[in-house]
Symmetry: C2
Subunit: 487 residues, 2 copies
């Protein structure tokens, strides 16, 4: 009954298994003192800051850990560097210490060995860079905030890193329609502040908002906390400007709600992780800022966090109270609490936001991000507990109930090949059997490209490879990512 009602009003909703009650109610009992660092401060290296690596534990080079072979791209020569310097004067970075931050992903699992980072400021500069790289057969790794979960944003070998960090200008904002047009390197949180001052909100919100770039959000089709309420970027992104592999600028940067003139090319680039083109500007529809926010936290047998947002505090509280009375009376919910004041809302959300941190205390965490039909959402957790037995410390499922998105986490004292073998491909095959998605919102990037076949049939994979070949015949754009290597 709750499940049925919730999508009508909730902006975001998470649930967690009872096995975790102990962990986070302990957190609550100590007044939600931060036991560790939230995600942004936890990142050892902020790419934009070019901070030193001294003190950080070494991350293995990707090809040393994963079976991957460098493709026959050219290597960057002195002549290439000189050409780059002409295109982006003073913004060609070759200092190894500065490059370190952009070669390593934020999960510190992958390390490329790129020798050059370019920081263009305009689409024209991106176009000139790609024209040069295309001619010279140089591979290119587009990079936004480098906050991806699947290794899509760092080079695997020595790809030229093209950072959008200096493409951070708002181009226009329409204060009637709420349509924002901006460069791809704008940081999500900064855009959020910008539109909130104008009484709108961004249609997406995620943990990495302090670092991630809107271009990266679009390139990875980011989901996040407002997905249930405001829908997918496929609906809210109205236009894109993209630079194609050969440097051609494709301008589809319109700000129209309706446009049925030909094929909707921008959809090709949403979620293609920089493998088909580099997004340089985004037009996006922002919803009006809600006037009222209510949060409820419910128990039995799962913890459920519900947030509603609307235009009238009184109406919204009344609706939520009605629902709560109904579910309490029916026995579906055993206990719960409601919050409207900001401090309590944040306390309740901290219970969700600190799960990742709590899990990390176990030692090593195997992480999966899958979509399932909502009635099967928890079955895999129960199944795995039986299958893994004492080999796992905890098998934990939480996620976005309204989206059918399960974040599955299996913890152990340390990494164990035996546990990995018990988990993979079992988890992927189980998901495939339910016609679920083996990557709900994180994408495939480098780490998951080989599991694509669990969620898409061979005909689809072949068509994707044909699209890649059409748009990037030399394969220079973000190689080794998203699609499995062709046989």
């Amino acid at each position: 009954m709750v499940l049925h009602l919730v999508p009508r009003c909730s902006a975001r909703l998470f649930w967690a298994s009872p096995g975790w009650r102990r962990t986070y109610t302990q957190g609550a009992s100590v007044g939600l003192k931060w036991l560790g660092c939230p995600r942004d401060t936890y990142r050892p290296l902020a790419c934009r800051g070019y901070s030193s690596v001294s003190g950080s534990p070494e991350v293995m080079l990707t090809p040393e850990r994963y079976p991957v072979q460098r493709l026959p791209f050219s290597t960057v020569s002195e002549e290439d560097l000189a050409a780059f310097e002409r295109i982006t004067p003073g913004r060609v970075i070759t200092d190894p210490e500065q490059l370190e931050a952009c070669n390593v992903d934020w999960l510190r699992a992958l390390r490329g060995c790129s020798k050059v980072l370019l920081r263009p400021q305009t689409s024209e500069e991106v176009s000139q860079i790609l024209r040069h790289c295309h001619k010279r057969n140089l591979a290119v790794n587009p990079q936004g905030g480098n906050t991806g979960m699947v290794g899509g944003s760092v080079p695997v070998f020595d790809e030229v890193i093209l950072s959008t960090a200096l493409m951070n200008q708002v181009i226009s904002f329409h204060d009637v329609s709420g349509i924002l047009v901006c460069q791809a390197g704008c940081v999500l949180e900064e855009l959020s502040h910008y539109v909130q001052e104008r009484d709108f909100i961004m249609p997406l919100d995620l943990g990495a908002k302090g670092s991630c770039h809107i271009g990266g959000n679009v390139a990875t089709n980011a989901g996040g906390l407002r997905f249930l309420r405001y829908g997918s970027l496929r609906g809210t992104v109205l236009g894109l400007e993209v630079v194609l592999a050969d440097g051609t600028i494709l301008n589809c940067l319109t700000s129209l709600r309706k446009d049925n003139t030909g094929y909707d090319l921008k959809q090709l680039f949403i979620g293609s992780e920089g493998t088909l083109g580099i997004i340089t500007a985004v037009s996006i529809l922002c919803p009006p800022r809600p006037k009222a926010v209510n949060v409820a936290f419910l128990e039995s047998p799962f913890y459920v966090l519900v947030e509603t947002s609307g235009s009238s505090a009184g109406h919204d509280a009344e609706k939520l109270t009605n629902v709560l009375e109904k579910v309490l009376n029916s026995g579906l919910v055993s206990d719960g609490t409601m919050a409207t004041d900001q401090r309590k809302v944040q306390m309740l959300w901290a219970l969700r936001e600190r799960i990742t941190e709590a899990l990390s205390h176990d030692g090593y965490v195997f992480k999966y991000d899958i979509s399932l039909p909502v009635e099967r959402l928890y079955d895999l957790v129960i199944d795995l507990r039986t299958r893994l037995g004492p080999r796992a410390k905890h098998v934990v499922g939480y996620g976005h109930l309204g989206d059918g998105n399960l974040h599955l986490n299996v913890t152990a004292e340390a990494f164990s090949q035996e546990l990995l073998t018990a988990l993979e491909p079992y988890v992927y095959a189980w998901t495939a059997e339910q016609r679920g998605s083996v990557s709900a919102e994180h994408g495939l990037g480098f780490k998951k490209k080989n599991v694509l076949g669990y969620s898409k049939p061979p005909v689809a994979v072949k068509l994707m490879q044909q699209l890649k070949a059409l748009l990037d015949p030399k394969g220079i754009l973000n190689p080794y990512k998203t699609l499995p290597a062709q046989a």
Copy 2:
């Protein structure tokens, strides 16, 4: 101010120019007696019924009216008919009288001369038909309800007509998530009834709902009356099954809210008007059925019709009353009325729905469907009144204010080449100057394919042509439609 508030709550909103007050208030004054036939009964020929053409005025063959040359496809032979009969036994229609209804579009402006209509029941049959046509180089015209506005659904020459009319089965409905999976030939209104009985609604609604097929809706990326509230089909369509030009079945018929595994191939087929593949099944997310509907009709200087839908009649009425008080007090609105009971709601909506009919009383109507930035939405109407002077009887603008979608109509006693020359390409060039869309929700089909360049740059048009060549190298799928002929 209204414009700003409206998108927060309204399901649909239309506005009309004051010049039309006379016409439709007259209609209201006679108790909304129908002066003509509503759209569905106005259609002279229902394709599914194979009714006789006797009595209908003759429609010219398309190539006699438009400059178009038949491409070198094969013609249907006796052997082809025998092969079709093996694939779809008893469902190969060659009787000219029965074919008439499917050769002529519902606006009665276009007529093809197809000699055969096929009525498959399954995707496998569609696959076998296309495999045969591909091998034989036979052109194919996919047809749903044949309710399109731009001639996309009827053959131009002798293309094989492939009707989805018998592919009308609901495959599944999930009564918690509201996800409907059905065959492409389900009629929108029938699906609407089906999900309403289960306390959901379809995320789209349009005038042609009694005839149009969901597959056609998706193939044309239909907009309609719920667009502002529930968003584009690009967000609500979760999965598609498509048969490609060579008969390959592409199964992307998932029912997942989130799926970031590879490129989102289904987006290629949404809005591509049957030129890249034939949609055979659709998975679509239906919103919960609203419990309360309020309609307001406001005046000064435009007529504005606002409909809200929500979960609480009391709350919704209160919100709408607050807005109305505000706009009345501010002088932005001079007069208005509100309705919640079904009869009055329908009366108010009739004022909108009968505009097309009222216009037709003038004689001949030149029709345009464009998107513009909202603040420029009416400028073209004023501009055209000056430009056309007494050559036009009326220049009328109405449409979807929240979507920036203007339905521009210019009426005259009869068709006039002089008026057409004054209108085109002027209207398209004017729209292009505002970076608007020359086809907001109707698509390009046969009639508008040559104006694509006003809304999309050459780079985009070229990429569209490359996609067409990749997916349909022989060009057999819905030829002469959507894309301009290549130089």
